[in-house]
């Protein structure tokens, strides 16, 4: 069943001369192997997850009681800016593209990505962007004292970002770091499209690709039309700040709303770019642990493409309070509600996949189940926010913060944890500890719900976003205290997870090529795969080549719709 190539770990042990540390570092610094680059993206993102998580913890301590002075207002404003910016650009994007990088060539039977050197370049330029952003804590200068990370919020509304309101260089660190990471993102997206279209193994027609590959294809197409507006807007911002142009200079007749349009034309598709990979993982993991093929493959593809297109038309639901006019608000309400339809279809297809199956509650599946419930709730609060008049109350409040963290943490992060437990054996040759995994799951689940369920309440009680403290007479204190308490659970669970990752690398059970009895091509090669992935490029005849192999009497090719 597997290629008879010894896993890399064993090869290392039998190597005559032990490799110097310098050789190892050189290897990783100069590698163009998609698997190594994927792993670097993932580790990089995990490091930033801890940093940004720590920033969140500091904010939650500050907000746990009214009129607190744990951090200064200036420090708090930098914290929420850095937390948001880091999580979106230096955790979310790298980790999702890291998984994509690792898995896509393996899943389509290719030896590497289409442009391996571009792959490496994209990683290193994005990585540099993250370091540049954090250098701002050390290197930026401004009028408000030493250490000035950006403090304009992760969406950096104009004219707050103008030279006059944000003197010094803190805003410039934000702009430049994201410009660099944007270049990296576009490079990776280009690579994914070229790889998917040009390097599939024989027999793998587009409608036989694993759904993960389809979703990453759609994500990458979205990147081209979504990240570019942000790049353009940031160039405009730099021109305003340094060459005296007037793109967002309201004193010269410029428009603050124009920045909002450009940012959210990026910003909304961006959140779909973040969530679609989570859907991709669900599409692979839920069927395997239900022991059933995914229900409605063509509808899943169509729904994904639909989401991709519609997501480009809903951006101004972030701007319902800006004064778009009744017709503008009505249009964007409609478009936003419509996107719930294909999204719902996906959820129902997962439900139908579970239905009639034989569900194995491995840790990976537990996290996937958490994802299903939590994404349902997140989608429903999203529908609440799509109702423009309701958004006039709930927008820019903690209700929105709760909603999007429900998607990002309850949806995406849960599915990421699931993906880790599922593919870690393939990447390292070892199983993650299921026992530690169960502790990780339950502690994190409790913390997540303590924080983000109750976070909806202060929003409904009138608490706006981005405030470093609040009045005691508003009735928000008890809810903030509960929300903050949940953060501690999540921190503990995350540390346990990191420990599991490290411990299992050395002590985990040996995985073998196919520990989960799965059906896509990555499970047909060794764990971890050799640098060339497959000894012989496979030829496939259905969507689940390994199912056909394991069930020759009843292959998938008989049934594909």
């Amino acid at each position: 069943m597997a290629t008879h190539t010894a896993p890399v770990n064993d090869q290392l042990k039998t190597h005559a001369r032990p490799r110097l540390w310098l050789d190892v570092i050189h290897d990783w610094l100069t590698t163009v192997d998609h698997k190594k680059i994927g792993l670097m993206y993932i580790v990089y993102a995990l490091l930033f997850l801890i940093v940004a998580g720590f920033e969140a913890l500091l904010m939650r301590v500050q907000l746990s009681i009214p009129n607190n002075s744990f951090v200064s207002p200036q420090a708090f404003n930098r914290l929420f800016t850095m937390h948001g910016t880091t999580m979106v650009f230096f955790v979310g994007m790298p980790i999702l593209f890291g998984f994509g990088n690792y898995l896509i060539p393996l899943m389509i039977g290719a030896r590497d990505m289409a442009f391996p050197r571009l792959n490496a370049f994209s990683f290193w330029i994005s990585a540099f962007g993250g370091l540049l952003l954090y250098f701002s804590y050390l290197g930026g200068d401004g009028l408000y004292g030493a250490g000035s990370a950006p403090d304009v919020g992760w969406f950096a509304y104009a004219p707050l970002t103008a030279r006059v309101f944000s003197p010094g260089h803190s805003t410039d660190y934000w702009t430049l770091a994201l410009l660099l990471s944007g270049i990296g993102t576009i490079g990776t997206a280009l690579n994914i499209v070229a790889t998917t279209l040009c390097m599939r193994c024989p027999g793998m027609k587009l409608n036989r690709m694993p759904l993960l590959v389809w979703l990453y294809l759609v994500v990458s197409m979205m990147v081209f039309v979504a990240v570019s507006p942000l790049t353009a807007a940031q160039i405009m911002l730099m021109l305003d700040r340094y060459l005296g142009s007037h793109f967002f200079d309201t004193q010269a007749g410029g428009s603050a709303v124009l920045w909002m349009h450009f940012f959210w034309i990026f910003g909304h598709p961006e959140v779909y770019i973040l969530v679609l990979p989570a859907f991709a993982f669900a599409n692979e993991i839920i069927p395997v642990f239900s022991r059933k093929a995914i229900f409605g493959y063509p509808a899943m593809v169509a729904a994904t493409v639909g989401i991709g297109f519609i997501s480009l038309s809903v951006w101004a639901h972030h701007m319902f309070t800006v004064g778009l006019g009744a017709w503008g608000n009505t249009f964007f309400t409609f478009a936003t509600m419509i996107i719930a339809v294909p999204t719902g279809i996906k959820l129902f297809n997962w439900l139908a996949t579970l239905w009639g199956g034989k569900i194995h509650f491995t840790v990976a599946m537990m996290f996937a189940v958490g994802f299903l419930f939590q994404f349902l709730i997140a989608g429903l609060t999203g529908i609440m926010l799509s109702v423009a008049p309701f958004d006039w109350q709930l927008g820019s409040s903690y209700f929105v913060v709760a909603h999007f963290h429900y998607v990002l943490v309850g949806g995406i992060l849960f599915m990421l944890f699931s993906a880790f437990y599922y593919w870690y054996p393939k990447m390292t040759g070892r199983m993650l500890s299921e026992k530690m995994g169960k502790w990780h799951f339950w502690i994190f689940l409790i913390g997540f719900h303590l924080t983000f369920d109750f976070m909806h309440v202060p929003g409904m009680l009138g608490m706006p976003r981005r405030i470093y403290t609040y009045e005691a007479d508003r009735g928000w204190a008890i809810w903030n205290m509960i929300v903050s308490s949940g953060a501690i659970f999540q921190a503990v669970a995350s540390l346990l997870f990191v420990f599991n990752l490290v411990w299992s690398y050395f002590k985990g059970a040996v995985a073998g090529p196919d520990p989960w009895d799965a059906w896509t091509l990555e499970w047909s090669t060794a764990s971890p795969p050799p640098p060339y992935n497959f000894a012989v490029i496979p030829t496939v005849e259905s969507r689940r080549p390994l199912w056909d192999l394991k069930h020759p009497e009843d292959p998938d090719s008989n049934y594909e719709m």
Binding site: V152, Y157, Y297, N329, I338, L380, L461
Partner: protein, 336 residues
């Protein structure tokens, strides 16, 4: 719809809810807030129903179809690849729900944004600043700051307050949850919103669009006055500043320092527009945009070091010695 629905219970329930959370969006007063409230109940109903059905099915599937170790445990279950009828139904039903929700929403959008403005509406121009609110009543010739007085509205003869809003610097947002949804104040753009509280009282809110360091303390206080109260307030506000000879030396300190370049005191040499109008500052309940109660000690502390209450506020330290500080505090206290 003006009064709270009867099923919300007695007034006591509402009042205790309000006492606990004076900015509760589910304790509406006035037409726009009630319109949103009614719509939000419909939305919540639909959303909760969907949640119960879908999560119920999910839970059922997870329990009913869990893998049980046994004789047939290694056999794979029947592989179902799809079903056109089922997939069609769960496409059509959500579309229908969307249509219903959309139509209900569109109605409220238009009724709020394109409401006919009655002739008796109270016009207020609101200009957002870092980090305070400027209120100008064009028809009454009043300029004030941070505490907005509007007349209560009688549903039989409505006198809503129409706020015409823009910003002098960065983006802000006017949010008084019990009275209306929020509307943004954007430089170089004019937005209009309206509200018509029917119960006299104080309504709280705050800036809801991050505008800089002291965004958190840009608080809003809306006083819905009875007609008599409002008339008295307006008449008083129209008068120029009190000129009390007892605080003449304090006034001198005020006028010989840079205070006058940022603040206005009507009828004196102070005509600055960068900071709040101080003509009747002593008649307000709070200072520093609602951040602290208006007491002589707080005024003194604020003038001595504005960053004491609001680190990052744009008013600089005036570096007055204690003597001058006492004098100018007494002066400001006299500006009733």
């Amino acid at each position: 719809m003006s009064a709270s629905p009867a099923w919300l219970g007695k007034a006591g329930l509402i009042q205790s809810a309000i006492a606990v959370a004076p900015t509760n969006i589910f304790a509406p007063d006035g037409t726009p807030a009630h319109a949103i409230f009614g719509l939000s109940m419909l939305v919540l109903g639909i959303v909760i129903a969907i949640f119960l059905v879908v999560s119920g099915l999910l839970l059922f599937a997870l329990i009913r179809y869990r893998h049980r170790p046994g004789a047939e445990s290694t056999q794979e279950p029947a592989q179902i690849y799809g079903s056109n009828q089922i997939e069609l139904s769960w496409t059509v039903i959500p579309v229908l729900i969307v249509v219903i929700l959309f139509l209900a929403t569109a109605r409220v959008i238009f009724s709020t944004e394109q409401a006919t403005k009655p002739g008796d509406a109270m016009d207020v121009n609101v200009i957002g600043h870092q980090f305070w609110w400027e209120y100008r009543y064009p028809k009454l010739g009043i300029v004030t700051a941070n505490e907005l007085h509007i007349p209560v509205s009688d549903p039989r003869h409505p006198t809503p307050a129409y706020l015409t809003m823009t910003s002098a610097d960065t983006d802000h947002s006017f949010w008084v949850p019990r009275l209306a949804g929020k509307t943004d104040l954007i430089p170089n753009k004019v937005n209009v919103m309206w509200m018509d509280p029917q119960t006299p009282g104080l309504y709280l809110g705050q800036c809801a669009q991050y505008c800089g360091t002291q965004h958190a303390k840009m608080l809003i206080r809306v006083y819905a006055d009875t007609p008599a109260e409002f008339a008295a307030w307006a008449a008083h506000q129209r008068m120029p500043a009190v000129q009390d000879p007892a605080v003449a030396s304090g006034r001198a300190v005020f006028e010989h320092n840079a205070c006058i370049s940022c603040h206005t005191v009507a009828g004196t040499a102070a005509t600055g527009r960068f900071g709040p109008d101080l003509t009747h500052v002593a008649s307000r309940d709070t200072i520093a945009s609602g951040a602290v109660p208006n007491t002589p000690q707080n005024i003194r502390l604020f003038v001595d070091n504005p960053a004491h209450f609001k680190p990052g506020v744009l008013m600089p330290q005036m570096h007055l010695n204690n003597h001058d500080l006492d004098l100018v505090t007494a002066y400001l206290n006299s500006l009733k």
